[in-house]
């Protein structure tokens, strides 16, 4: 069964460089939790802190309520799946999976039984005698999962485990991992820089940048209500309009941008005169259909690309700013032509206003 992980003000400093700082969060027992962030933002460092390969420069990590200070990785109920898997090449598949049990001095017969069960669990029955090098990428992946699960960890950490696989296998393994997590109820801490992966697999996720947690929450909340400009632009595609907040009206606000005034949603209650950015997702923009809209912009069509279910259209606003919109393909002929003048619209609810300076409490 999974255990919970508490990080209290955790920071990690490598000779004057803070790779992780002020991480204050809680991961529930049995949760599938992901860390999402660009390369070098400190994801692996955070994982190594939780598994005990690094000692935090400050703060405390507790697992299942127990302070982990001074407890080495070999004494923690955690298991890690390394970015490069780190299978033992000189051992057979069965020996790889049984390694942790061998260390725990589980008798041979029982060990073999467990290894067979695990091979069953990861859908690889009968490959126990093979050499690691004779397996395919996806099979190695599963062996690594089985090896980590063999020691019955309470917390399983996965460091971008799917990044080396091809697209199809990656999609397949996502579902597999999720299934295994549901079956074993182990707490999964998953690292990725692929937002699709983070969104489809996780119960909750944290977006990281520069060693800090930018936002933590449910996937839909993070996508629909990004809390910082970083999250808004890192997660999903978005259009940005820079401007100064000129007028506040109830729950909405108006900013003056070079493109013109825009009606926006103002969840952080920014005050008048704040330098701010409005974020508008491409899929929330539509062509004007005569009805009244909060924001409407005259544009010209630049290019478009047909993606089957969607059509992505690149536009230019009146002041020459590029704008991306995405509409679903309903089969009707849209009469798209480069250079054609159109009017596009989006509601104030879909224009999210955030302060230009990242507002950290």
């Amino acid at each position: 069964m999974g255990q919970d992980v508490q990080l209290s003000n955790v920071g990690m400093c490598f000779d004057e460089f803070w790779a992780v700082r002020n991480v204050d969060m809680h991961i529930e027992a049995g949760e599938f939790f992901s860390f999402l962030g660009p390369s070098g933002c400190g994801k692996t460092t955070l994982l190594r802190l939780i598994s005990g390969f690094l000692d935090p420069s400050e703060g405390v990590i507790s697992i299942n309520g127990q302070d982990m200070r001074g407890i080495g990785p070999n004494k923690r109920h955690t298991a890690m799946i390394f970015q490069n898997l780190a299978l033992f090449p000189l051992m057979s598949v069965a020996h790889n999976i049984g390694f942790g049990l061998e260390i725990k001095r589980v008798p041979k017969l029982e060990r073999e039984k467990r290894v067979d069960e695990l091979l069953e669990l990861v859908d690889l029955p009968g490959v126990g005698d093979k050499k690691v090098e004779d397996l395919s990428g996806g099979q190695k992946q599963r062996v690594a999962i089985a090896r980590a699960l063999a020691v019955e960890p309470s917390v399983l950490m996965l460091d971008e485990p799917l990044s080396a696989l091809d697209l199809k296998l990656r999609h397949h393994m996502r579902a597999e991992l999720r299934k295994i997590q549901r079956r074993t109820k182990v707490t999964f801490i998953y690292i990725t820089h692929d937002q699709g992966e983070a969104f489809t697999m996780s119960d909750r996720l944290a977006v990281m940048s520069d060693g800090k947690i930018e936002q933590l929450g449910y996937p839909d909340a993070i996508y629909n209500n990004p809390a910082t400009p970083f999250v808004a632009s890192f997660v999903g595609e978005t259009n940005t309009f820079h401007g100064s907040l000129s007028e506040i009206k109830d729950s909405s606000a108006i900013i003056d941008t070079p493109t013109g005034p825009l009606h926006c949603r103002n969840p952080q209650n920014l005050g008048q005169g704040t330098d701010s950015i409005a974020f508008v997702r491409p899929e929330t923009i539509s062509f004007m259909n005569g009805a009244q809209a909060d924001n409407s912009l005259p544009c010209t069509i630049d290019t478009w690309s047909f993606e089957g279910a969607f059509i992505t259209i690149q536009l230019k606003t009146g002041d020459g700013k590029p704008l991306t919109m995405r509409i679903s393909n309903r089969g009707a002929d849209l009469n798209l032509e480069p250079g054609k003048d159109v009017h596009v619209a989006f509601s104030a609810d879909n224009a999210l206003l955030l302060p230009k300076e990242a507002s950290h409490a």
Binding site: F53, M80, I103, V151
Partner: protein, 297 residues
């Protein structure tokens, strides 16, 4: 084989290939095979007066080899050489394994370079000079005795050079590098994550080394041991400079035989020494289950 041949033809062209083949075979024949054969021939002939050569007594015989087994003293010296070389090998392995592991896997950045340089610098100096240095350190009125007298650990200077200890120490010192480099090379290629993975699965340091690091380093350990053993068994400088006059080594025995014009016995003993090294090599490869293919890794 055919593939190698085709590739070589492609690489060098027909004339180049002919040159390479001729050069390699001439080299092998003149520099490697011929001297060995001449030595072997010497060893299989009895020691004769010049006028007896070519006469009826000049036949092939194993009598030179038999001397080793009939002469008790020679046998003792031979066994001592094996024993000491083994000791040197084990000693070098025990010292070099942690050093190599540290340089290859623990140290980071510039300190790796400094450690390497520190290991190599003593080898810029000729082996004889290094042994003379040890002679100075270990002499009755040498630095070590002086220091220990001054501290007060001893009241009389110790004669370090009485037994074989000084020779073994000198040999171990002379050949550590031949152990460090193969080990370092083998350990270098070990993925750090494998060590971490084993630790993550609960393994202690001892288990990690026994199950992960040492198996990975096997070819390096085998090569290092073979080199150290061969160099140890074959050295004459260390026993001559650091050994006491009363202790005699197998290489010194061979040397003396050549010096006293008994080339036949000297050649036989030299062949025995070469065979010993081959046997040791075969044993090492078998013990570490390393194939010759793995050695070239």
């Amino acid at each position: 084989m055919r593939k190698v041949w085709n590739q070589a033809k492609h690489e060098f062209g027909p004339i180049g290939l002919a040159y390479v083949l001729i050069a390699v075979s001439v080299w092998m024949l003149v520099m490697v095979v011929a001297p060995q054969l001449i030595m072997l021939d010497f060893s299989l002939h009895p020691l004769l007066f010049p006028d007896e050569i070519g006469g009826p007594k000049d036949v092939w015989t194993l009598q030179n080899y038999e001397i080793l087994f009939s002469n008790r003293l020679h046998m003792i010296i031979f066994l001592k050489t094996i024993w000491s070389s083994l000791l040197v090998t084990v000693f070098a392995l025990v010292i070099c394994y942690p050093i190599s592991y540290y340089i290859a896997k623990v140290a980071r950045g510039a300190s790796v370079g400094w450690l390497m340089v520190g290991l190599i610098i003593p080898y810029w100096i000729n082996e004889l000079l290094r042994l003379f240095a040890w002679q100075i350190i270990l002499a009755d009125s040498g630095i070590l005795n002086q220091a220990m007298l001054w501290i007060g650990i001893i009241s009389e200077p110790l004669n370090f050079r009485a037994g074989n200890g000084a020779v073994i120490l000198g040999m171990a010192y002379a050949y550590v590098l031949f152990m460090v480099f193969p080990l370092y090379n083998a350990l270098e290629s070990l993925d750090r994550n494998q060590v971490d993975a084993a630790r993550d699965l609960g393994a202690s340091w001892f288990r990690i080394h026994r199950r992960i690091v040492i198996p990975h380093a096997k070819p390096g350990i085998a090569i290092g041991c073979i080199m150290t053993f061969m160099l140890g068994a074959g050295t004459i400088a260390a026993p001559q400079l650091l050994g006491s006059p009363s202790s005699f080594w197998f290489t010194e025995l061979i040397y003396t035989n050549f010096e006293t014009a008994n080339w036949n016995l000297g050649a036989a003993y030299a062949t025995i020494l070469a065979l010993l090294c081959l046997v040791f090599m075969a044993i090492m490869l078998a013990v570490f289950r390393v194939s010759l293919k793995e050695l070239s890794r």
